[in-house]
Every structure is written in structure tokens, then in C-alpha cells.
Symmetry: C2
Amino acid sequence: FAGSVKAKGTQWTRGGMGNVRVSGVRLSSVIRKLGVHIGSGARFLTAEGKDAPLPGKEDFEHSLPLDEAIEHSVLATRINGQPIPAVHGGPVRLMTPGFYGTMHIKWVSRLRFENGETDNYNQIPRYRVPRNQLQPGKPIKYTFANSTACWRMKTKCVVLAPEPDAAVAADKPFTIRGVAFNDGSTRIDSVQLSTDRGQTWSRVRLEVPHSRFAWYRWSATVSLPAGKRELWARTVDALGRTQPLDGSIHWNPSGYEWNGVEKIAVTVG
Amino acid sequence: FAGSVKAKGTQWTRGGMGNVRVSGVRLSSVIRKLGVHIGSGARFLTAEGKDAPLPGKEDFEHSLPLDEAIEHSVLATRINGQPIPAVHGGPVRLMTPGFYGTMHIKWVSRLRFENGETDNYNQIPRYRVPRNQLQPGKPIKYTFANSTACWRMKTKCVVLAPEPDAAVAADKPFTIRGVAFNDGSTRIDSVQLSTDRGQTWSRVRLEVPHSRFAWYRWSATVSLPAGKRELWARTVDALGRTQPLDGSIHWNPSGYEWNGVEKIAVTVG
């Protein structure tokens, strides 16, 4: 969102993302095995980690919607076949595919099944997005009613090559490649590419992964005449969710959940 | 949804829609003028009409989200400058732009400001859609938790010409025209047309209306080689909401809220 009004906190520029294979024990199995009784009013799973809070701050915790946590969460002990390094939350990290990274609780030490979301400052006001549009730069006081936690990942794609501001040869085929993903609740239907700033779009080659939570890798080969050009890429999923042409329509003070159409400037010549 | 599993009730085939100019008195003005005290817990406006119920049935009523009703609803007395005919709900109809037709209460006679949605059978189980995907044909018992009322219109477009199964001349320009709309919460960004079953899409000419709740008229001129062809049209709005390629992903027993990509078969020759 930095092109609109600068966000607070760490400047993630184009963001951070990963695509890993996780193994461990399903949360649902642990609940069954231990005979955990979950109260009938419980709607959220709140997870705490073993780390100590920053001085003067509350200890980090997050709440997840209970139904989805029971269906999808894993008490993960390995990523890509290796024990999870401590810096990434090992020995045990609560991972919920389809959810944003902040929701994967590191060094998980305690799980609570509760009627409401925690009011820990990492659940509110941090790591939230407004339910309705904000004017970029305008402050908002988050409440549980006017905002939601950063849970399910928005439908989006990323261009991995060429890099922004790369130079490519004129009138010669070159390959654009990237990945696409959503919250895993439905499949990605297509990724479309435009080299004329949205006037026309073409479907790219798409590799359908084995897991619906994994990246869809995609590529397209184009040749362009000399000049300053932009490569625009947009994902559409089977539920009809796509990326706004101007991502700043979802502006929020911390710059969360950006999913605007990916726009990469290149110099062709 | 008839191409998937047939819906219950009146068969609306491609649906019914209208685009009218409404005048009357804003609900918010009436509330202010009468000094209506709305309880702090009120979340819904429930509207009743003067008509008598069908034998053995409850009288028709609907609930609307209170914030949106106060912001947008009108106690309408005229459409397109003329008094509203009784058959269309005159003398006074509660109209809320951006909402589906069933929610515009005819012959409005009483308004209630309440904490919960009415459990009138026209609010539940009728005129609802599931929150999560259903398997087409699979029954569902609607609850307030697993479904929502048919309130805000989904982003979609309709092809008005040519008509389905029309014949058009080969290799000669002809015009495709239609309309697009959404719930009015944001503008329509583009309507895109594909004549190759979704491989490539081109932005069409779009007329931006004066009201954000009105139809966006659009047109495109194409010429096609002889053969059986399909014209596909898809709307994208500024929030990144579009139409699913296969609309039956939103299947529901009564066939409400269809917004699949519009697909018109034509014979070119």
C-alpha cells in the first residue's frame, strides 16, 4: 500500500510468502485423543506461545475461528521433512493452511476454546482489517464489529520473473512466471495476463498443485515491442473472487492483505 | 441454476430485473421527523406490508440490516415520475437500492426496529442463500448462522443482445450489448467479453451511470468466423468482485443470486 499512504511498522514492500510441506498432528486428533470437552458456546480457538512478551507488552496470542481450526489446523513439528527451526516456531507451531502467516502461532504452549476472540493487542487492534472501505490515511479505531482479524488469505498472484524494472529484449519471446493462491476454500480458476494495462487479458498456463492450499505456478510467453511496458497479472478463483485493479481500495493503516492486480514495469528494448 | 439441479418454485429462467428512478421520502428523514427512538441493541429493520397472507401462511415481511436501511432506504411513492401502481407495491413501497427485489416491501404499513432478524418464513427458510458451498441438489436446513438473507445484489452482467441462440452473419461486425450492476457499494470497474470460451478477454465500452446503483450499459463490436460460438461476459468491480466461470458453484435450493459468467450461444454463418 506504500504507493497510496504509507503503512505503519515493518515495511514489507511487496510482502513475504512461503509454500512449505507441513507435517505433525492434526488438532482434531489431539482433541479426540485427549478427550477435550469443548463448551457448546465456544466459537474461537486462542493459541499462546512459549515466548516472553516484549517489555511492557502483552504476551503474543491469536484467536482463530474454531470450526476452521478444527477442520484444518495442524500442530506442526516438521516443515519440508525437517524439524521446524526454533526461529520459525519449532518445536511445535500451530499451522492453519489458507491463513496469513501471523496466525501460525510459534512455540505453541497452550490452546483455549472460548466464546469470544481474545482482546490481546495482537488480535485487536493489531493484525486486523476494516470490514468497510477506509479513505487512505484516515485513522480507524478497530472494534470486533467494524473489523476482522487477518485470517483467510485473499485471492492473489505474484509475478516472480521478470523482476520489477527489468530490461527485456524487444520483439523476442520471453517468459513471465509467478504463483497464485487463495485461502484454499475453492480452486484457482485462472490467472490472466495483460500487457496493455487491462484492455485485454489472456489466460496463462497454470499448474494445479496437489494441495488446494499450495501455490499454483503459472507462466506465459510473450513478445513485446520496444518501450516502457507493464505486465499486469490477475487471479480469478472458482467463487468469482479476483483482485481489484487498484489494490489501495482495501487500504488499511497497517497495510495488511494487499491483493491488488500485480503490476510489473519493464523496459523493453 | 436450472442447468445444474433444478430449483424449486417459479422458474425465472434467466431472471428478472429492472432499473427505475425512485422518489419518495428517505427512511432516515421519517425517523428524524417523527423522533423515533431506536433502541441501542437494534440491528435490523423489519417491514410489514398491508397485504393479507395466503391461507395458512404467515403474513409477508422481511428484515434488512439497520445501518444500510437507514443509509439508503426510501419510502417510495413514485417510480420513473409516476405514482407506484398497486401491483408494484404502491402507494408506498420500502425500496433499498442495491438490494434484491424481494427486499423491497410492497404496500408498506409498519416498520419495526429490532435486535434480531424476523423468523417469518419469508426471511427464513425462504429468500436465503448458504454461507458455504453446497453440493448441487443437496438439501440444507437454513439457520441464521449457516445462511444469509438475499440482501445485496451480487456483481454481474447480462447480455441483452444478441438473444440466446440467435443467428448472426459471419465475418461481419455485430454489436453485443448489455448491462452490469452490483450492490452499489463500489463502482463497476470493467465488463470483459470473451469469444473464445475464456481464453482471452477484452474490455468493452462502458457507460458510467449517474447513480452508483443504476445499470452500467455496455457494448462491444466483434466479427466472428462461421460456426457455433459462445459470447461470454464478465463484470469486475473495484473491490475485486467478479462472476464465477461456473455459476453453479453458488448453487442453492431456490436458485437465488445467480451471477455466473454470462454465456450466450450464437450461430455464426
